[in-house]
Each structure stands twice: as C-alpha cells, then as structure tokens.
C-alpha cells in the first residue's frame, strides 16, 4: 500500500468522523439547549423538548451508528483496505 492511497483513505475516514461527531454534538447537546421553546410544541401529548431527550436523540444515535457502519465499510472497499 502506497503512502498516498493511505492518505486518501484516512482523509475520507476523518471526514466521516467529523460528520458523525457534528451530528453527535447537535443531537446530544445543541437541540436540548432549546428545550424550553420546543416544549411549547406538543406531539401525541409529548412536549417536543422532552421527547427529543427521552426518545428523539436516542433514535438518531441508533440510526447514525448503523449508517456509520455501512458508510465506513463502503470507504474501506473503495480504498481497498477492507478485510477479506
């Protein structure tokens, strides 16, 4: 494996990492900073701010991780570093 293809691989992996961490910061923290205005909106009886902390963010985390597994695997294959 040449140095440059390693760099391409790590560049793509790092970019995916930054996207994941940005989503994590948004759904882990930023959205909950707006809990008071969000609580004004009710869905099926749930105040939206409460819903985000009790279910919404959690669902996003789970979905994110399955998506991450797929995306990283795609990068691995494209760059020829996937396991056999």
């Amino acid at each position: 494996m040449s140095q440059s293809s390693d760099d391409v691989y790590w560049g793509k992996t790092s970019k995916l990492m930054v996207v994941m961490i940005a989503l994590w910061v948004f759904f882990g923290y930023i959205v909950h900073m707006f809990v008071t205005p969000l609580n004004g909106i009710k869905i099926f009886g749930f105040p939206l701010g409460f819903y985000m902390a009790s279910q919404g963010s959690l669902i996003v985390f789970v979905a994110m991780l399955f998506w991450f597994g797929r995306s990283q695997d795609k990068i691995d294959r494209e760059c020829g570093v996937a396991e056999d």
């Binding site: 923290y29 902390a53 963010s57 399955f66």
Partner: protein, 657 residues
C-alpha cells in the same frame, strides 16, 4: 485438538440462533408455568425462589458448558462472537442494577433533568464506534492497557492505564454486588450480608471457568431475561390503560395528564407554585450541570474498559463497528422505555393519591412504607395510624394528601409497578429476576476486566513474561476470585455513597483514559511522555475534585478557591459560607454525606458527579503540551498507528502459543 475445538466452535456459532430461540421460548414457558402455579395457590415466596434459583442455575450451566483452557478464548472469546450477539452481550454488560431498577425512579423524581442519564448512557456509543473500538479491535488487544503499551511503548503507560482501570472498575463492581445483595434480600428475605455472598457465587460460576467466552454467552442469556422482564409489566400496563401495548407511545398521554394534574394541584393549594413540573427543564440541575453530566457520562462510556473489551471479541473490524450499533439498539430498548415507567407511576400517584383523604390510602403504600421506602408527611408510611400521626403533627394540615407530603424511594418505581397496577405476582418475580440478571451480567464483565488487568497486564506482561499458558489462566482465575471476594466484602460494609460511586466511575474513566485512547489513534504526534502525563493529570484532577468536594469540603473552600454550589434558581446551597467555615466541623476529614458542606462546594458551580468536566480538558491539554515538548514517536510507532487505522491485515498483537 486445536482444529477439533475450532470445528466445534464453528458449529456452535452457526447454531446460535437456534440455541437462543429455544432458550427464549423456554423462558416464556417457564413464566407461564409460574403463572399457573400462582393460580394454584403456591405462596409468592416460593415463586420468587423459583424465579431467582432457576435463572441462576441456567447462567451457571452456560458458564460451565462454555468453560475454556485456551488463552484467546479466555481473554477475547476466541474472536468469534458475531456482531448481533456481541451487541446483546454488551447490552447486558452495560445495563446495571442502577439502569434496571434505579433509572425509572430517578426519572420519576427528577423529571426532565433525569433524562441526562438517558442521553449520557446512550450517546457515548457514538464515540465508541467512531473514535475508539474498531481501532482497538484491529490492534488485537486483550485488554485496554495492551493498546496503551503498544501505542506509546513501555510499561509506564501500561501501569498508568491499569491504575485508572482498577479505580473505575472496582468502584463500579462494588455497586453491582451491592445491587445483587439488595435484590436477593428483598425478594428472598435473606439478611443482606449473606445475600451479597450468594450473589457473588452466581457471578463467579459464570466468569471463573470460561473467562470472556463464558461471560459472553451468559450475558446474551441475561440480556434476554432482563429485557423481557423490563418490558412485560409496562407493556401490560399500557395495554390495560390505553388499549395500545406500546408504552413508548402511550406515555405521551400520561405526560399531558400529569401536566393537567400539576396545574390543578397548584390551583387547589395541593402543591406549592414552585413544584417540580415533570416536563420542565432545569428544575434539579442548572443547565451547566445538566450538560456537563451528559458529557461526562458519554465520554465515560467510551472509556470504560469493561465496555471497550467487549468489542475485542468480534471476528473482524467491520463486525466491531456494526456490533456497536447493535449494542446501542439493545440498550435503547430499555432506556427509551424507562421514561414510560416513570410517567405511568407518577400519573398513578398523582391521580389516586394526591388530594385524597389520608385515611384512604391504598394498601401498597403501607407495604412499601413498612420497608421505609414510601414516606408520607416526612415519616415512613408504615400504617394508617403512622400516617395520621405524621400528618397531624404538621400544623394546618387539612387531612388531604398534598404533593409535598408524598415521598418514594427511587428503587421502588420499577419494583412496585406490577403491584400498583394490580398485575399478578408472577410479574413481580419476573422483574426481580430481570434486576438480578442486570446486576450479575455487569458484575461479570467488570470482574473479568479487573482480573484480566491484574493477570495479563501486571502478572504476564510485567512480572513473568515467560509464564506458560496454563499458569497464566490459573493466576487469572485465582485473582478473579480474590478481587470478587474483596469487592463483596466492601459491598457488605454498605458504603454510603453507593449510587454516587457509579457516576464517579464514569468521570474517572473519562478523565483518565479518553485522551490517551483517542489521541493514540487520531494524532500520530502523541508520544509516551504526553500519554503518561495526560493520564496522570486527567485522572489526578478528576479524583482530586471528587475527594475534596465530597470528603474534605472545608479544605476545598479554604485552600482551593471552591465556592458554594447553587440550586437551579441561582440560590447558593450554603447561604452563609463565612459562618459555615467558622463552624467547629468545617475542617473535618472524610466527612459523612450529612456534613453541611459535603458535595455542596466546588469550582464553577459544578457538581462532583461531573468531575471529569475539569479532568477531561486538562488531560487533553497536558497530553498535547507534553507531547509537543518531547520528541515525536519513532517511525515504527507511526507505522503502527497506520496499521491500526487500516482494517485490512492481521491483528498487530501476536499471541505466543
């Protein structure tokens, strides 16, 4: 011989689906049999014994069948655990007695602010999957300190890692054994001190013979028991009340009913206007503390060795990543249900108790009141007379139960839900078996992490590198038993801070290990001196903050610039610090929790359950500065980092066989 074991292992792995399907079916059949026995009039006490006894026998059976004498099976289950099953095992490993029994109760008491635990104990898996676990799997570590040693070079950094591991895992395992003892005490009527050691036996049979391999397959079995036990009562309740067996949806209605009742209470003088509204944010924690707690729990999740080591067991790096996603899904099933428990219990209490005549309280109040777990008017609600006397002592009490008169212990919410909802006893027994499974499985994982650190990292890697396989495994098992007995002994002393200790474990892991693990993969320039300095600084500061604020608060104020924490409205917890510091007990050491200053002082208004909020940035900062001041790591180490980053190729840690 070796090929034979391999072939045997492979056929076992292939038939996992069938094995666990039969197991799950058998478990449901067992529940039905107990339910029938209950209808036939078998006393509750025996039903409880059967539930606890049979599940423990099954775990022990799995532990014995999957025993092993191979090093790689003992430490990493032979790296054969498929992503899906590793996800279940991680779920059981992760969810402790505190999650199973305590979480819903905390949500009941804290309302929105309790969701910091729900968020903190799930979101950390994003960090595990993206930043750490796949790379450690590629390296092929047996333990977390293995990776630190290989990456930074030298036993110094391995020793620093072991120190953090021992500190956080030991505090955590004591809490688990304590939880096991409580459950056995409550459901089997055993004295607590014996119950602790009975629980210990259950833990040991699973982990001692087969190491990681046995623990893995037991944890999968325990996950199935705990999730079934957690979901059945609340699904039943939801179907009964709202005609829809999906509590996660129907508790929205409960929330809006709670909100209406809260307004009614305030209007009718049944609660103060300042009462804690269930959905209102920042009534228990300041916003700063709320977010700091989430951060510490998340980062702690990604640093706890007993969790990370579960991802060493998957067959590939790809499976390690997918396995984190499965883990979170299985954990999510419990954590997004916990708020439903809290809401249903609160609605039940608000609609059937508050505003009613104190002479007409339902029987369950007295049942739990006798155990000191339900208070009315500030006293244990042991009987109708006790309630009458306690409320009569409050001047101007109208004889109607007010919101502020009623208090409930956090453990009771999950345990009492079946009884309060009028479900048969079989459901209560099921919940007890689930709580036991949660406590046992976490304790197994923690004990294994502790014993592996001592036997593999200290004994084999540092003291006797030429030890033959057989001897290593014997040493490991002996150490496991010693650590387990010491932990059980500590739990039997009933340390006062048992629940706080769990959150401390997260902060200690976060402050101590996270910077070294993440920078080890993501920053090639990080070197040995930086790692050692970073671990010591991050761990040291976190520990310092915990110990000073909790046990030496007077010294914190006098010498370290700490000030009084405030409540969410900004009012200082210690109104007159000067007077408090002049009091005779201001400079006491190792103060009890009842000390006026204990856990009420700190820096920047930060509660000590989020201690890593200081240790974490300092750990990163010190590691960066010291690394930059010392020479960059060798070419060999930098190549090693490259190899860890590429999934392709062999694991990097070779095992001498």
């Amino acid at each position: 011989m070796a090929t034979e074991t391999k072939a045997g292992g492979a056929s076992f792995i292939d038939s996992l689906g069938k094995i666990y399907a039969i197991y799950t079916g058998g478990f449901f059949g067992f529940i039905v049999i107990i339910a029938i026995l209950e209808q036939l009039g078998v006393p509750n006490k025996y039903l409880g014994y059967m539930f606890m006894g049979l599940t423990i026998v099954v775990y022990a059976f799995i532990g014995i069948v999957t025993r092993t004498a191979e090093v790689s099976e003992y430490y990493v289950a032979g790296r054969q655990v498929p992503a899906f099953y590793n996800g279940m095992a991680t779920g059981a490993d992760w969810m402790s007695a505190a999650s199973f029994i305590g979480m819903a109760g905390s949500l009941y008491l804290l309302g929105y602010d309790g969701l910091a635990f729900v968020l903190g104990w799930t979101g950390g898996y994003v960090l595990v999957a993206v930043l750490i676990a796949p790379f450690l799997r590629k390296f092929g570590a047996y333990t977390v300190p293995d990776f630190l040693d290989a990456r930074y070079g030298g036993n110094g950094v391995r020793l620093a890692g072991v120190m953090v591991l021992l500190a956080c895992s030991f505090t955590y395992v004591v809490a688990q054994i304590f939880g096991t003892g409580l459950i056995a005490q409550r459901f089997l009527d055993m004295p607590f001190e014996y119950a602790v050691f009975v629980g210990l036996l259950g833990i040991l049979v699973c982990s001692m013979l087969g190491g990681m391999k046995a623990v893995t397959w037991t944890q999968v079995a325990q996950y199935i028991v705990l999730i079934v036990a957690y979901l059945i009562p609340v699904v039943w309740l939801s179907a009964k009340k709202y005609g829809l067996p999906i509590p996660q949806l129907t508790y929205g209605q409960a929330l809006s009913q709670i909100a209406d009742l809260e307004q009614n209470f305030i209007k009718n003088g049944l609660a103060p206007a300042t009462m804690k509204l269930h959905a209102a944010p920042f009534t228990s924690y300041t916003p700063g503390n709320y977010f700091a707690l989430i951060l510490c729990l998340m980062v702690g999740t990604a640093s706890l060795p007993h969790v990370l080591m579960r991802y060493f067991t998957t067959p590939s790096v790809r499976e390690a990543r997918v396995s984190v996603a499965w883990s979170l899904l299985f954990i999510f099933l419990l954590y997004f249900t916990a708020p439903a428990y809290a809401a249903f219990s609160k609605l039940e209490v608000y609609s059937t108790l508050i505003g009613k005549n104190i002479a007409d309280l339902p029987q369950w109040v007295y049942n739990w009141g006798k155990l000191g777990l339900v208070n009315v008017c500030g006293k244990a609600a042991a009987s109708a007379d006790a309630v009458k006397a306690a409320c009569g002592a409050i001047s101007g009490h109208a004889g109607l139960l007010r919101w502020q008169d009623f208090g409930i212990n956090t453990d009771v919410v999950v345990i009492s839900t079946p009884e309060i909802a009028g479900l048969p006893y079989v459901v209560t027994g099921l919940v007890a078996a689930g709580g036991l499974a949660a406590a046992l499985s976490t304790a197994d994982g923690l004990l294994l992490a502790l014993a592996n650190a001592l036997s593999h990292d200290i004994y084999y890697k540092m003291i006797n590198p030429n030890a033959p396989t057989k001897q290593r495994l014997i040493v490991s098992r002996v150490l496991l038993v010693i650590v387990a007995i010491f932990a059980a002994w500590t739990a039997a002393q009933r340390p006062a801070d048992i629940l706080a200790m769990v959150s401390w474990a997260f902060s200690l892991a976060a402050g101590g290990l996270f910077p070294a693990l993440v920078l080890g993969v993501w920053w090639k320039r990080a070197n040995k001196a930086g790692a050692i300095a970073g671990i010591l600084a991050g761990f040291g500061l976190t520990l310092f903050y915990l110990v000073i604020t909790r046990y030496f608060p007077g010294y914190g104020v006098a010498y370290f610039g700490m000030t009084s924490l405030t409540d969410p409205t900004g009012k200082a917890l210690i109104a007159d610090m000067a007077a408090a510091m002049k009091a005779a007990n201001a400079f006491d050491s190792w103060v009890p929790l009842t000390h006026p200053l204990a856990s009420k002082v700190g820096w920047l208004n930060m509660n000590n359950i989020s201690s890593a909020i200081f240790g974490l940035p300092v750990g990163f900062g010190v590691m960066y500065i010291v690394s930059m001041m010392t020479p960059e790591p060798s070419k060999q180490i930098q190549d090693f980092v490259d190899a860890c980053r590429r999934p392709k190729g062999q694991t990097l840690m070779a095992e001498k066989s």
